[in-house]
């Protein structure tokens, strides 16, 4: 998979991304290529710039310098909505769900569906039932079994269930790329396995996935390629076939340098 896709145009590409926060350097010129139908894992120590990198790709941050390309075309994301319109869906580390709204409202937040006819076009009425039904269907299709009633307020859910809401939203609406920033951090063993299966399913449908995780076995199990971030830079890109988890950790911590 890695060798065959290496030559084609990446679905999503970043070149020389720089992002600083005052004196703190989040990204010091980072490249990234994501190819069709692959799972690219991003690993690195806390503060290595993983979240900052994907926030630039999702429009949450505007990079100070560098370029982002979607299917070879340069794009500029000024806000998250721009990236969503380009087909890039993201599960943020902070989840970015609205606590007081229910599950269905959260899934459709920012892309609500209206009723047909004048009720929708003139009175702008939401198709609440339709969205509820579709939300239920999507959650079922994705094999997420932890969410029951779509009318439950998200604030009443457990941490793992909230994470499931965020993952379901991204997986259901992503049309080009799905980005997951530590999507299994609050999950139990079984739910983690479900999310990993979801990642594989997405890949098998041809959807490329960026997965940030601190869980080495998980990363080596699911990733096609692994990008290692260190101190705001890309230290290396490896594959589970060419490197061991121990070597990956060594690169992450700077104990081993890849040339």
């Amino acid at each position: 998979m890695t060798t065959s896709t290496a030559t084609s145009t990446p679905i999503l590409e970043a070149r020389g991304l720089v992002k600083t926060f005052g004196h703190v350097v989040g990204l010091a010129g980072v490249d990234l290529e994501l190819h069709a139908g692959e799972v690219l894992a991003i690993i690195g120590d806390n503060g290595a710039g993983k979240s900052t990198l994907i926030k630039c790709l999702s429009g949450a941050y505007t990079p100070d310098a560098g370029q982002i390309l979607v299917e070879g075309r340069p794009v500029e994301f000024h806000r998250p909505d721009d990236a969503r319109r380009a087909g890039i869906e993201t599960v943020y580390q902070t989840l970015a769900v609205s606590p007081a709204l229910d599950i269905a409202s959260n899934l459709f937040l920012g892309r609500e569906q209206r009723l047909p006819g004048v009720r929708g076009s003139v009175f702008r009425m939401l198709d609440k039932k339709g969205m509820r039904d579709r939300a239920k269907q999507q959650v079922e299709d994705l094999g997420i079994s932890t969410l029951q009633s779509m009318t439950q307020a998200v604030e009443n859910l457990s941490g793992g269930q909230r994470q499931a809401v965020a993952v379901a939203r991204a997986a259901a609406f992503g049309s080009k790329v799905v980005i997951l920033d530590e999507p299994t951090a609050a999950l139990g063993v079984r739910e983690s396995a479900q999310v990993l299966q979801l990642v594989r399913d997405l890949r098998d449908q041809g959807m490329p996935v960026i997965l940030i995780s601190h869980d080495m076995p998980q990363v080596f199990e699911v990733a096609d390629r692994i990008q290692i971030q260190r101190l705001g830079r890309r230290a290396a890109v490896i594959t589970p076939q060419t490197h061991t988890p121990q070597e990956a950790v060594a690169i992450m911590t700077g104990a081993m340098v890849v040339t």
Binding site: S58, A60, P80, P99, G110, R111, T146, Q194
Partner: protein, 350 residues
């Protein structure tokens, strides 16, 4: 985020049985009450309204008479209308201290252009609407573009609007008979089953219906809640947060002008001295009505109920022969109780 250990014993069960994440302990009755109040924010103010009406009815038989109740509603119409715009702003986790000043400015401009420049009624009303919208644009732009806290912005614009209103009118009151009839039309009334109802009251209720519809049935309404709930999450979810907030202040400004129209009918004049307490009274109505000052939680109808509670307490205490100071005292206590209840309800989140 929960840190409770995940149930590893479930690992060898089939996928479908895993439905337990979350609820482990059965909720206590108090928790259940809190959850219900959390879900229906207008419920506790509605109970307070009903109980206080029964209490004042027992204190004085005239209180529950149709004539007296329709008087209460008329007295409440202006604050009730202002509370609509105030609710929208509070739902976005903002606050508007300039509502009364914006309302009075719009009435003075309407009266001014009508009497000094001979503008016909509809045009004068339109001028008032433009002024209301302009005050909303000013507040909204300062809050969103300059990123200033709404409290500070509207404290400033409260003074600015008040000063402009006094400068424009020379501090003079325009009496109802000097103005086109349309400007005070909201004070006219009709009778239904012995109850006197002004057109101002009807207008207020229509505004409630329209805005409540927009809040509960449209994506705009949902975005208002989402922005007030957690603005960064809303932004990451693709909502244009500044656009939503700006739209809220502008809509509120238009609503304040409508409240001004009701005010002109109520006092049969356009006066810089009318409704000086309106700023705080509108916030009082919203808070007593169960809308959280932290944003994202509340129901519009609660604010009407809140305004009615204040009206019922004032009217009921005065009918029962208490010194007006007790009205002020009672309203103060109500506000503090309402905010405490809100704090308690918000803990249902955790």
């Amino acid at each position: 985020m929960t840190t409770e250990p995940q149930d590893t014993a479930l690992v060898d069960h089939p996928l479908e049985v895993l439905t337990d994440a979350g609820l482990t302990q059965p909720p206590s009755p108090l928790d259940r009450v809190r959850t219900v109040l959390h879900r229906y924010p207008a419920l506790s103010p509605a109970l307070v309204l009903i109980l206080s009406m029964i209490a004042f009815g027992l204190l004085n038989d005239r209180f529950l008479s149709t004539a007296n109740l329709s008087l209460v509603v008329q007295q409440v119409a202006v604050i009730g209308a202002l509370a609509i715009g105030q609710t929208l702003i509070v739902l976005t986790a903002g606050i508007d201290l300039s509502v009364g000043a914006a309302m009075i400015l719009s009435t003075l401009v309407a009266a001014g252009v009508a009497t000094d420049h001979g503008w016909p009624g509809p045009l004068a009303l339109f001028a008032a609407l433009v002024i209301g919208v302009a005050t909303g644009v000013i507040n909204g732009v300062l809050v969103t573009r300059l990123n200033l806290p709404p409290f500070i912005v509207t404290l400033g614009t409260f003074n600015v609007f008040t000063a402009v209103a006094l400068l424009y009118s020379d501090g003079a009151t325009t009496r109802g008979i000097e103005m086109p009839g349309l400007l005070t039309w909201t004070g006219k009334s009709f009778t239904v089953g012995g109850a006197q109802i002004t057109y101002g009251v009807v207008l207020m209720i229509l505004l409630y219906v329209a805005v409540a519809f927009a809040l509960s049935q449209t994506s705009w309404g949902r975005h208002v809640y989402a922005v007030g709930d957690d603005s960064e999450s809303a932004r990451l979810s693709g909502i244009h947060v500044t656009r939503v907030i700006l739209s809220v202040y502008v809509t509120a400004g238009a609503l304040f002008a409508a409240a001004g129209w009701i005010l002109m009918g109520r006092v049969n004049a356009a006066s810089p001295n009318a409704g000086v307490d309106a700023n705080l009274d509108s916030i009082t109505a919203v808070v007593i009505g169960g809308t959280s000052l932290f944003g994202g939680r509340g129901a519009l109808w609660g604010s009407l109920i809140g305004a009615l509670i204040v009206g019922v307490f004032r009217n009921g205490l005065s009918l029962a022969g208490y010194d007006p100071l007790y009205q002020t005292l009672a309203v103060g206590v109500l506000v503090i109780v309402a905010v405490s209840v809100d704090q308690w309800i918000r803990k249902a989140r955790a």
